[in-house]
Subunit: 492 residues, 2 copies
């Protein structure tokens, strides 16, 4: 299988598209821009979900579920306070199909089943949720509300790519309501920290925490915190955002509360989300020309055992050994799959597990049973070693931790090696064309300069890093004074 994978050097974009399909992660569907997430890809997403969900609950959040549809009028209310909100949405106008009287065997929309008010398939849920919160909040005693939702959303994207940009995608969206500005700010920053911790500890993907410039903020947000990662091709990817929404949504939906001094005030809000886009980020952080490389903390199974045998007797002996290994690993919370398919040869199995990024592969043959050894292969380094069977489980336990750490460190070194401090615009353009990655440069703080740089180079300001060093400098484009460097990059 893997022999057909385009190399990254040849065509990174093609490599990505092929890998997603060949590794059985996802594929395009019959619906324009919508993907099918296949079981192996979905199992990785489930691991991500489980971990994020645990972290959200640990920080006091509960899950709930709000409607898929948003009445058009709620968008109108939102539009007043958050102008520029995306309008590329799927719109439901009718509620019935009928047999087409003019075309036997065909269906058509029943013209009499037209909705009085169109329903928009949620592109995000602020409008429907804040319209609901209005009924839940009267007093400071009803606050904070700390709710998260796991859901599908739809944005009518013109150019789509599996995981990275799809019309329908899966995500989580947190929507919180607070009595004070300070509390909402703490919440927004806290959730960005949660995302960073998840990205680094589970995805083994180093991220830079920062805030967006005004032009890159979510419509309606006063501040957008974000985590930015660097992909292998030198392009940045926004992996998660957390918005401080001020009182904008409370004003749009008239959500007031009596504070502890008995005065009426608008509620303070945050929202924060990550999506199946993280799958794309995971792939483009670690994978190689042989296929997917998965960090052990997110692998659907961390170890695979491939039996090598010539007859039933050998197969039975190997099976017995494999089952005892699986049991020992399970006791250590390590997931292991025994690939006993009779429809595939060992070589084909090796290739498939390599392509699918299983962190560790065990091969057991009759010789191994005799010698009390097994062959253990690492996916990330493509190295093999012979291990004594009585040392196997402890070796695996240690190795999984080593792999997780090394993947992170490798990505971190690459990332840090691709942050270039630049002080003039010629170098700026040259770095973007050659080395790529992040450019750390002074910026005069105006949307005008930001826009100009974007037009000239396609690079955008990815973020103003948190706790950014303050230093005197001049804008790389305008030459005007600046007090800090910001991070530019071309981005997904």
């Amino acid at each position: 299988m893997s022999k057909n994978l385009t190399s990254r050097a040849e065509d990174y974009s093609k490599w990505y598209n092929e890998l997603v399909v060949k590794a059985n992660l996802a594929e395009n569907s019959a619906v324009r821009g919508c993907m099918v997430i296949k079981p192996y890809g979905y199992a990785i997403w489930e691991k991500m979900q489980a971990e994020l969900d645990r972290m959200f609950k640990e920080t006091g959040h509960e899950n709930a579920y709000f409607p898929l549809f948003v009445p058009k009028s709620l968008f109108e209310a939102e539009e007043k306070n958050a102008e520029g909100f995306a309008k590329e949405c799927a719109v439901v106008t009718h509620y019935r199909l009928q047999n087409d009287p003019d075309n036997p065997g065909k269906l058509r929309v029943d013209p009499e089943a037209k909705l009085e008010e169109e329903l928009v398939v949620r592109p995000t849920s602020e409008a429907i949720i804040w319209n609901t919160y209005k009924g839940w909040i009267q007093s400071y005693r009803d606050l904070p509300i700390l709710i998260n939702q796991w859901a599908n959303v739809v944005r009518w994207e013109m150019r789509t790519r599996l995981f990275l940009r799809t019309a329908e995608f899966l995500w989580q969206e947190g929507h919180t309501a607070h009595a004070t500005k300070a509390e909402a700010l703490v919440e927004a920053e806290q959730m960005n920290d949660v995302y960073a911790k998840f990205a680094e500890n589970f995805m083994a993907m180093p991220v830079i925490k920062g805030v967006k410039t005004e032009s890159e903020r979510f419509a309606g947000a006063l501040d957008t915190y974000c985590i930015e990662a660097l992909m292998q091709d030198g392009k940045a990817l926004q992996a998660g955002t957390s918005h401080f929404l001020g009182q904008n949504f409370a004003k749009a939906f008239d959500v007031k509360f009596t504070n502890n001094e008995g005065k009426l005030d608008y509620v303070w809000a945050t929202s924060w989300g990550v999506s199946t886009r993280l799958m794309g980020a995971l792939i483009m952080t670690h994978s190689d020309d042989k296929g997917l490389v998965l960090p052990p903390n997110l692998a659907p199974f961390q170890v695979v055992i491939v039996p090598i045998y010539k007859n039933d007797e050998q197969f039975e002996a190997i099976t017995e050994k494999a089952e005892s290994i699986i049991k020992e690993l399970k006791a250590l919370n390590i997931s292991c799959k025994f690939d006993k398919r009779t429809t595939h040869r060992p070589g084909a199995k090796f290739a498939q597990h390599e392509l699918q990024g299983v962190p560790l592969r065990i091969a057991i043959g009759p010789k191994d049973l005799e010698n009390n050894t097994i062959e253990l292969a690492r996916r990330d380094t493509l190295t093999k070693e012979i291990v004594q069977i009585d040392e196997l489980t402890s070796t695996i336990k240690d190795l999984l931790k080593v792999i997780q750490d090394e993947l992170f460190n490798k990505a971190l070194i690459y990332r840090d090696d691709h942050i270039t401090e630049v002080n003039d615009f010629e170098t700026f353009k040259k770095v973007l064309e050659t080395k790529t990655g992040f450019i750390s440069a002074h910026w005069d703080g105006t949307a005008e300069t930001e826009q100009k740089i974007k037009e000239l180079t396609k690079a955008t300001i990815r973020c103003i890093p948190m706790n950014n060093k303050q230093e005197d400098g001049v804008c790389v484009y305008s030459g005007k004074p600046s007090l800090q460097r910001v991070l530019f990059a071309k981005a997904y």
Copy 2:
């Protein structure tokens, strides 16, 4: 709070509607027929999901995700083989809103953004999934495919009720593909058994396993297995279905495979699902005039501790004790919440936890600390006892099991007491009007008689029980010969 709940005897339907809202399970939304599932209700659904998901994986299934939208043409393909498929669906016809030039501040559908082919919001996913499977299946080596999806679906229902019948609802849908008829039949029956096991062991809800008559089957199914439960008002509720689809969908979407004899054949299919409707079934199986009664196996928290104190010192001492109890319970995998809110008095907390069905409530006051005792209250029986603190955790552990079992047994006795064997149509009608419940009666096997009985009594055949006793008899309506009794009831 609970003092306002309508009693079941007074108006069962009103009691249900009030309970769902007051116990913070769900509420109606701004979108007709769509509900908001509130955190407490969603936490119960999450417990259901976790357990079902575990059972699906144990029986070899994997999760995946398919698009929300189904192109109209796929419905046309399906319609040919599964006529009568529901057409009351939400239909997306446009992909953009724009500012309405004639009404400042208003939005309208952009007439130029009309889809070439309408997209239906999935009412169920057979069409999009079998259209996808076509690309996955060439040979028997690709089979079986054992996939489940957790998703939202939309059916344009005219009369909706929270959880029981909503336009959008959450569910899981299993879609499997097999090489042989026998294997597909085993799968369909197996999944119905899984549902029955879940209903009985987790929901504490006794169910009757059976098959549907032809008129009650899912469109396109050759056999529909089901689990039927009896609600407290004597009406039946279909809690889960599992369909043997034969080769109908394979034919509709042209999914053929080479079998192990090298011959081309159509693939055999099943589908099976349960939904948030189970929440309604759970409520109407156990709850009482005081509010929700939850089986411990599905309660968001199984125990709640309410502190009773007059000063900070007492509060601190109680907190210390509560935390040590929580820690001990956690070690036994028992979830416990310490309700230390200062905004509510103990009485209000008691009322709320009663209304929300927390299985066990602990009250600790200063006297209890002195005496090394606590007061333990059971929600299901509304009884209290004083327990020595050193016996508390073992008492709780045992009691939770007892409650789970007793809830099931109580529901079983009620259910069995409401299955009436009836041999003539006058008695049939009388039982339906007075005792309600299931009626076990002979039926001549014709759709005509079934329809006639439905028209005259509103009772439908809920199922032909599995392993049904064969006996000579005559149809309760037509007097024609019959070999077995079937179960009739009015149903949700």
